[in-house]
């Protein structure tokens, strides 16, 4: 007979909360695994009554929506937590924010509507800001125009399982140039496809489309995630807030 944990099973989830958080400044270099570990430790320190799974290795009830890649900053990351006791969302926001290091900031916490759509079903695209230090605003605008004029923009990326090709152009729903910036700065609405098109794929496509060179590593920041606004099509500059 294999040993079983003694005692009663852990208390069930009584409340689901959805959390928007950031990855700012130097903490943009943390990977998703790093974030998950830091977040779970912050949960322990914060006193938020997180629920756990059963078994010898109980896991806190946290589910993450698709995470920004290592090196990309974000103003709009999302996750959902299950609590074993009810708490005011505003209190949870403050407690978690205080327990996390600066840069990993909790922006918003709301209660999930029972029976409503899953968090993952409220997210289909991201708005990325891409800064290209060392590239002029005009050069950036030209490269964007060239990219948008293409029918497809295949980009190879090396992954654990070898090289994959993604079509960067196909994922772009809308894109524009931020006029008042010190270097070329683009904002691009990227649809979440499988395999995902990441901001560095967009940069690679820009380089190819216009022979652009980026002397300094570009910096990408996710500004928003959500559903694409139904109207007007093709000029969607707005994503529907998944916590709204």
């Amino acid at each position: 007979m294999a040993r079983q944990p003694e005692g009663p099973p852990p208390p069930p989830v009584v409340q689901r909360l959805r959390v928007r958080y950031t990855k700012r400044g130097r903490l943009r270099f943390i990977s998703h695994r790093d974030f998950a570990r830091a977040f779970e430790r912050a949960l322990h320190r914060s006193g938020v009554p997180i629920a756990f799974s059963a078994g010898f290795s109980p896991h806190p009830k946290v589910s993450y929506a698709g995470a920004a890649p290592t090196g990309a900053a974000s103003e709009a990351e999302y996750l959902e937590i299950g609590l074993s006791q009810e708490r005011e969302p505003a209190w949870v926001r403050d407690a978690l924010d205080a327990a996390l290091p600066d840069g990993l900031d909790i922006v918003e916490v709301v209660a999930a509507e029972p029976g409503g759509p899953a968090l993952a079903d409220r997210i289909e695209a991201s708005t990325w800001r891409i800064e290209l230090p060392g590239v002029s605003v005009a050069e950036g605008a030209g490269a964007l125009t060239a990219l948008l004029a293409l029918d497809e923009a295949p980009v190879e990326r090396s992954t654990k399982d070898g090289t994959r090709t993604v079509d960067a152009r196909a994922a772009i729903e809308a894109a524009w140039v931020v006029e008042e910036a010190s270097c070329a700065t683009l904002e691009v609405v990227v649809r979440h496809l499988t395999p995902a098109v990441r901001p560095d794929d967009v940069v690679t496509a820009l380089r190819r489309a216009a022979g652009l060179s980026t002397p300094v590593a570009p910096v990408a920041t996710r500004l928003a995630q959500g559903l694409l606004d139904a109207a007007p099509p093709q000029t969607a500059r707005h994503l529907v807030d998944p916590l709204g």
Binding site: R3, P5, E6, G7, R26, L27, F29, I30, S31, R33, D34, F35, R37, A38, E40, R41, A42, L43, H44, R45, G47, F52, F56, S57, P58, T70, G71, A99, P101, D102, G103, P133, V216, A217
Partner: protein, 640 residues
Amino acid sequence: MRGVSVFDRLEPLLPSVRKPVQYVGGELHAVTKDWDSVAVRWALMYPDAYEVGLPNQGVQILYELLNERADVLAERTYSVWPDLEALMREHDIPQFTVDGHRPVGDFDLFGVSFSTELGYTNLLTALDLAGIPIAAADRTDDHPVVVAGGHAAFNPEPIADFIDAAVIGDGEQAVLAITDLVRAWKHDGRPDGRDGLLLRLATSGVVYVPGFYDVSYLPDGRIQRVVPNRPGVPWRVAKQTVMDLDEWPYPKQPLVPLAETVHERYSVEIFRGCTRGCRFCQAGMITRPVRERSITTIGEMVQKGVAATGFEEVGLLSLSSADHSEIASVAKGLADVYDGTNVSLSLPSTRVDAFNVTLANELSRNGRRTGLTFAPEGGSERMRKVINKMVTEEDLIRTVATAYGNGWRQVKLYFMCGLPTETDDDVTAIAGVASRVIETGRQASGRKDIRCTVSIGGFVPKPHTPFQWAAQLDHESVDRRLAALKAAVVKDKSFGKSIGLRYHDGRPSIIEGMLSRGDRRVGAAIRRAWEDGARFDGWSEHFSFDRWVAASEAAFAGSSVSLDWFTTRERDLSEVLPWDHLDSGLDKDWLWGDWQDAIGESEVEDCRWSPCYDCGVCPSMGTETQVGPTGRALLPLSPV
């Protein structure tokens, strides 16, 4: 302008290196202070990758202790991997701290903690990247004072040319004393510059300054003598010993990394020192006497440490944790406190006895019982007498029977190969022990799927131990004995499939042997190996034996010493050892007597529960064994 962050120049490079998070800092409980607000500035380094260096207790303790002083700042730096090293050289970015990303060369002091000699080449990389001349003799008043510490500093002679000073022993009080001396010297207007400061440090007795000692050699290569070359510098430098660990309850605010590291837990040292007297064990010899932390302090540290970090694992550390006089109460108390929570407890004790299993049962009350580790170290009873590991085969079998009978599925056994007087049979005997373990385990558990993993390390003779005179076994013989052992396990039809064998080839141990027992002449080999690309020598994927052999041949060409001379040569009592002027408190005659007892297969008891056998430490260092029981209990704690 000194102390200015280089992060703006580093940041654009980070997207192209592996695991960039290790270079950004920002850990919970990391400290950054205003550069100009303090009088003394330390850069502290663990000379290995961040994932290994960050959890290091020594660095964390000193970091916290120094930063608690209002007029002192301490920042941390770790070895950068070759991908970033290349980019830093290309973009002219110096070795930086992860806290303020400040150039290491701007600090007053650069303290480097060596747990292992295989970190020496990483010291040279850091110095070079920092713009600090590799040779201490070439440094000016503009460069930090480079201070080595950690267990390897008990023989810092191989790196004597590269460091300015070494702390021998416990660091807590020593770093504060050094800080005071540096502060006073700066306040006095830096009289006599760098040399004046080093002289103040050396004459204080707190540190060893290799540059103030001349070493002369005999024609056959042995050391003739080591003599101070400045008035007021002590002939022998004594180790530092912290008494009363309850007064030094660090770390209180342990660093919680964002990156994944090798130990993800809150660790509390439950005692320091060990007098079990295992003759191979340098740590047990140089950290005497035993000083226990009291049960109440342990309880407070664990409660506060877990609350402050959110770690889910607590480690009760020491050289032999089951030997704490109140370990049973500590274990039960903590298991009660954290019962029903997700905090697990671990006791990395490897003592071979049933009590250890009882403790492990208590600590894993509600957890999974996967593996237990024991360290008989020697395969035959004769061998264990030589190394003073007082465990009979019956003890071992009884212990593993208890373990398997209590639901543990795997037992891991540690052994060494290459011990003094060892024969082929002593190593092959390990196979027989493992077979009996499996046979016993199957009976005790009633299952066939139990396992025994045998891990074998190559023995390296270390300074300040009874084996400091011993010949190290050549790597060909080590490999041959291990191959014979493997063949014996494979041949075992009944139990062989349940036995896992883990070992490495014997070559890295030979280089470690030279770096451990070498003298100042070894510095030339280290420098040459580093110039030829040696980095991260503790990592098998980076270590190159051939590179070290070539570097040693070149460095020792035309002299009477060699890689073999430093390693496989037995020394005699009359030889001046490179570390004889560094006083660990151990009486050299006692060590020699213990070496002779080893050869005679004669054992010595632990002085905690038998009369003092005059190793010499307590009287010469003015210390005494501090053990309980106190009779107190863990405070009535509540889990967080």
